[in-house]
Symmetry: C2
Subunit: 96 residues, 2 copies
């Protein structure tokens, strides 16, 4: 199981990510993404789903028409781990 990130490790990882917000209650990071329409939003979700399945690490996420909210935390570890920041990085790269 991946280990919970220390505050220092978390801050260092967040500095390399694009617009992810840390939530200390859930020990998670989240990001709201907005797209042109549902088709574009769900296309993005398909790419994230493939990346998540490859990483064997899955997001908690919500979609409403053109909006996708992604929350990442490691439920098995009980908080934020390197698996979350690595998946966030991959998601960022999908959008470049």
């Amino acid at each position: 199981m991946a280990e919970i990130l220390t505050d220092k490790q978390r801050d260092k990882a967040l500095a390399t990510l694009n617009g992810w917000v840390y939530d200390d209650v859930g020990d998670s990071i989240s990001h709201v993404f907005k797209f042109k329409d549902f088709s574009e939003a769900f296309g993005f979700m398909c790419r994230v789903a493939l990346a998540a399945e490859s990483a064997n690490h899955h997001p908690d996420w919500t979609n409403s028409f053109n909006k996708v909210t992604i929350i990442l935390t490691s439920h098995d570890a009980g908080g934020l781990t390197q698996k979350d920041t690595a998946l966030a990085k991959i998601i960022d790269e999908i959008l470049i």
Copy 2:
């Protein structure tokens, strides 16, 4: 724009659906679906996404690993309409 269902119309429609729950606060219907794993859950979401796009009526939904929660309401009409119950019926049929 589709019209808001009357109580009688809603009850009649719900009786034809499989396990959808009415929420009077949001004037919406919802259903939690559980699958074997993420792959099965997201495969279901892909089928629902295609149906939703075809119907030009989209769900508010959340996924966490093998769980998919779908909420249907017609935001433009301000409540539950025939578009929602029709999409719920299509979703039910995906799972038969």
